[in-house]
């Protein structure tokens, strides 16, 4: 049953609600208004049965079975849905992997001594990555090792390999399975290009064959492009260590120059952090009447800076428009991915300057300053200067900072988690074996205006930790949980007795921030390390993934590699596959017999929690560990009583 005022419940977060109300007062259009204007959204497209891949079309299949059942070429609903899904995975994998390539190019420039503002921050990680590839390190200068590592990683993008290097991290049983299925990722760009080839008219018309390649395309992202992005960012900017920072729009300061760093690539934002400490620019800020320069993060650029530098986090995906509407933002510096074209339009209502920085991502209405690693610091300073100068244009009467910042802990790289455990995963495995911790779940992914902002993430996470399930988070999900106060050590009190005791003993929160969305690769590494130390495959572990509010093509790629790696995954938003019964049955059913994991789709986080808890207990049972029966796991009565779920 509906409860009160559903239309107004756009967000769980108080800061968001206050600024959404301002948007109403001032007639500023936001993402929620645009969703409303788009409704009804096309059923052919959301069912996945429309095809625009050739000029004999466009075609669409009548999902009711009476109208056309084949496109002009003869493709049926199964082929069309599989093709579309395959292309979506390729687009998402391409986004992560091109991000990885940009980091790799900057790393290569650093190794060649061509960059400015970068250094090798984590020498140990550089050496470990080199060692992993058999690159000699003894007695060689670091930049030479780095250059050889860069060359080896460039090869990962090509077409001349049988398997990506990072696949050696995968448990042996899973590697054999991938080999048997023919889905071992071979080359990062290769799998994406092959997917575009396969899904053009007249190539791959077997929906199962297309979907299997979809898994391989995802794997080339997770164990390839994303993993390169994560590992090399750690080498250059530092492997994250636990730290305390703060989150929400309250991180903006009324008396400071506020500059938001938005997007996904940490390469520019990291030099901006250096530039913002420049004495000359700080003096300029004082001259303009500001108390200082305050950098805040948005989306995954924000997560990268939060994880490594403790830079405060202004918000996740659906906060990007609202951050401008505080009237307190001098500049929004954007790199790429998830940056709504609408930000420049909203910036016109305020004094905010939107500054775009990558030649591959231009925003009409923004100032474009091309970023090149060779002049990193110089460009960083120019950008900060523009922000400082914009402070003079701020109208103090228009400033509305809606909340006090909430503390949140971040910085849980795999290395940091192992360090917290005393250097080995053994204590975590022991806690799981005993049942003190039932299992672990990655809650990841975006915001989507179809789900009340943060509600999917926060409610699911709450239910999991209450039931002694350790939660690791990345991306927008991490920011959502941070805002809700679930990511400080004191939040251990929100957890069930088992997880609470472990968190208190280690001084960690029950919800661990593992980074940006490319850092989902850290979750893969952790899962593989747990499986390896137990001598089992990943799909045998009591693990699960959830993307309660996903929207991006990147999330589809993540879903593909997580499931192909053996982790059951629940999506809160339905993917466009429901037009093919066979594809739905495969992805939500038969796939379990193929890769040991499958997808589920469920919007209500209360029900997602039940699905995941039952899955985890089933995995515990199969491992011979103490377990609960599925019937014992139900939606809590309080949620039914509160009308949050249909009884």
């Amino acid at each position: 049953m509906m409860t009160a005022n559903s239309d107004g419940n756009y967000s769980l977060a108080k800061d968001a609600r206050e600024i959404i109300a301002r948007a109403r007062e001032e007639n500023i259009t936001t993402v929620w208004d645009r969703l409303r204007a788009q409704e009804p959204q096309c059923g052919y497209c959301s069912l996945g049965v429309s095809c625009r891949n050739c000029a004999m079309g466009p075609c669409r299949i009548d999902p009711f079975g009476e109208g056309p059942q084949q496109g002009v070429c003869g493709a049926d609903a199964d082929i069309i849905v599989a093709r579309n899904l395959g292309r979506t995975i390729a687009a998402g994998a391409s986004a992560h992997s091109d991000h990885g390539r940009d980091i790799l190019e900057a790393f290569h420039a650093l190794a060649d001594g061509r960059s400015c503002g970068y250094r090798i921050t984590d020498e140990e990680k550089l050496k470990a990555l080199a060692r992993e590839r058999g690159i000699a390190i003894d007695g060689r200068p670091l930049n030479e090792v780095a250059r050889e590592l860069a060359q080896a990683m460039f090869e990962e993008f090509g077409t001349r390999k049988e398997s990506l290097d990072f696949v050696t991290r995968v448990p042996g049983k899973r590697r054999e399975l991938w080999q048997k299925l023919g889905i071992t990722p071979r080359g990062i760009d290769r799998e994406n290009v092959e997917m575009l080839h396969r899904t053009t008219m007249g190539v791959d018309n077997d929906y199962i064959n297309i979907l299997l390649h979809g898994l391989r395309t995802g794997l080339a992202d997770g164990w390839g492009g994303s993993m390169i992005a994560t590992e090399l960012s750690d080498v250059m900017f530092g492997t994250p260590k636990p730290l305390l920072a703060s989150v929400n729009l309250g991180t903006l300061k009324a008396d400071h120059v506020n500059i938001a760093l938005h997007g996904h690539n940490p390469m520019l934002s990291d030099v901006i952090v250096q530039a913002a400490q420049d004495p000359e620019l700080l003096n300029l800020a004082k001259d303009k009447g500001a108390a200082g320069i305050n950098l805040v993060g948005l989306c995954c650029t924000g997560n990268e800076l939060l994880m490594r530098r403790g830079i405060p986090m202004a918000g996740n995906h659906l906060m990007q428009e609202l951050a401008i509407m505080t009237g307190a933002l001098e500049a929004m510096v954007v790199d790429y991915q998830c940056i709504m074209p609408s930000v420049t339009e909203i910036a016109k209502c305020f004094h905010t300057q939107v500054i775009s920085t990558f030649d591959k991502a231009k925003f009409p209405g923004a100032i474009h300053i091309t970023f090149v690693p060779e002049r990193g610091l110089e460009i960083g300073k120019e950008i900060v200067r523009r922000g400082v100068e914009a402070f003079a244009n701020r109208n103090p009467q228009r400033v509305r900072i809606p909340a006090k910042p909430v503390p949140m802990m971040a910085g849980f790289s795999v290395e940091a988690i192992l360090a917290a455990l005393g250097g080995t995963p053994a204590p975590l495995i022991e806690a799981i074996k005993q049942g003190t911790i039932r299992g672990a779940v990655g809650v990841v992914g975006c915001n989507n205006p179809k789900i009340p902002q943060d509600y999917g993430h926060v409610r699911l996470t709450q239910r999991l930790i209450e039931n002694d399930i350790l939660v690791v988070v990345t991306g927008c999900a991490a920011v959502a949980n941070g805002k809700a106060g679930q990511m400080v050590p004191e939040a251990a009190n929100m957890a069930g007795p088992g997880l609470r005791s472990v968190c208190k003993a280690l001084g960690i929160p029950p919800v661990l921030h593992m980074g940006s969305c490319v850092d989902n690769s850290r979750i893969l590494v952790l899962a593989a390390a747990l499986a390896n130390s137990l001598g089992v495959d990943i799909d045998q572990l009591p693990l699960a993934g959830a993307a309660p509010e996903w929207y991006s093509e990147k999330a589809v790629s993540i879903g593909a590699y997580v499931v192909a790696s053996g982790i059951y995954t629940v999506l809160g938003v339905q993917p466009p596959i429901f037009g093919s019964r066979k594809v739905v049955e495969l992805l939500a059913g038969g796939l379990e017999d193929v890769v040991g994991a499958k997808f589920a789709v469920e919007a209500n986080p209360e029900k997602v929690a039940v699905l995941i808890r039952r899955h985890i207990e089933a995995k515990r049972k199969a491992l011979g560990l103490p377990h609960l029966s599925p019937e014992a796991i139900r939606v809590p009565a309080e949620a039914v009583l509160a009308g949050e779920i249909a009884a």
């Binding site: 009804p40 059923g43 009548d62 009340p452 093919s580 019964r581 739905v584 509160a642 949050e644």
Partner: protein
């Protein structure tokens, strides 16, 4: 068959019902193809590429509005009521009925855009737009004309032709009602026999698609 013949004609010479567009609301998937086809049909060029450049732009007469839940929608159009409230209240007799096709039409040159017709329309399907050719008044009532030109040429209405999901169908009214009744009958009998798979008018994945839409809206109630 006998019933069909009876409903079409009577011995004293006029048809009891006529051909009409029937809406199977459970079939609408919100693709908006009918709106697009309607606007093109009522453009001056009758050509999609050229019509988008026309000034004033061609307007759709069928309106697909979103329901409360995601993945729900209703294609709404003039039902050519008999008697037609819009026709009854029109002070300038701009709204009239075509005798042969029994369609309710608007003569834009007579329309004074008073909107009385829109106010009394039970379906809220009359809107007001600029009319081409500089005819006075500049704005006139715009509503479905039943594709009278197409129908006169022996074609079916543009919206029906565009709908591949069976949400809009064209035919003799009682026949269309009877088809729905047959579906219901089979569903009821199948349900009572617990053999529902055979009689499902909507395949299961579509149900799942709609259920997600309803549920995604429902959880909004969980946010406080």
């Amino acid at each position: 068959m006998c019933a069909t013949r009876f409903s079409q004609t009577r011995s004293f010479g006029f048809r009891e019902t006529t051909e009409t567009v029937f809406i199977n609301v459970e079939r609408c998937i919100g693709c908006l193809q009918c709106q697009f086809a309607c606007a093109i049909e009522h453009s001056r060029s009758h050509d999609a590429a050229a019509a988008v450049l026309e000034d004033p732009p061609p307007r759709t007469r069928i309106h697909v509005e979103a329901g409360y839940a995601f993945n729900s929608s209703f294609p709404n159009r003039c039902h050519h009521c008999k008697p037609a409230p819009c026709q009854q209240v029109c002070p300038t007799a701009a709204i009239f009925r075509d005798i042969e096709k029994e369609l309710v039409l608007v003569e834009p040159r007579k329309c004074i855009a008073c909107a009385m017709c829109a106010m009394v329309c039970p379906f809220d399907v009359i809107s007001f737009h600029s009319i081409p050719g500089g005819v006075q008044p500049r704005v006139a009532a715009v509503k479905c004309d039943g594709c009278i030109e197409r129908v006169g040429r022996g074609q079916i209405p543009a919206c029906v032709e565009a709908c591949k999901a069976g949400a809009l169908v064209y035919g003799e009214l009682n026949n269309l009602v009877k088809q729905g009744r047959l579906r219901e009958t089979r569903a009821v009998l199948a349900a009572s026999a617990e053999a529902e798979a055979e009689a499902q008018t909507v395949p299961v994945p579509i149900d799942g698609w709609r259920q997600w839409g309803a549920e995604a809206k429902q959880i909004t109630g969980g946010v406080r």
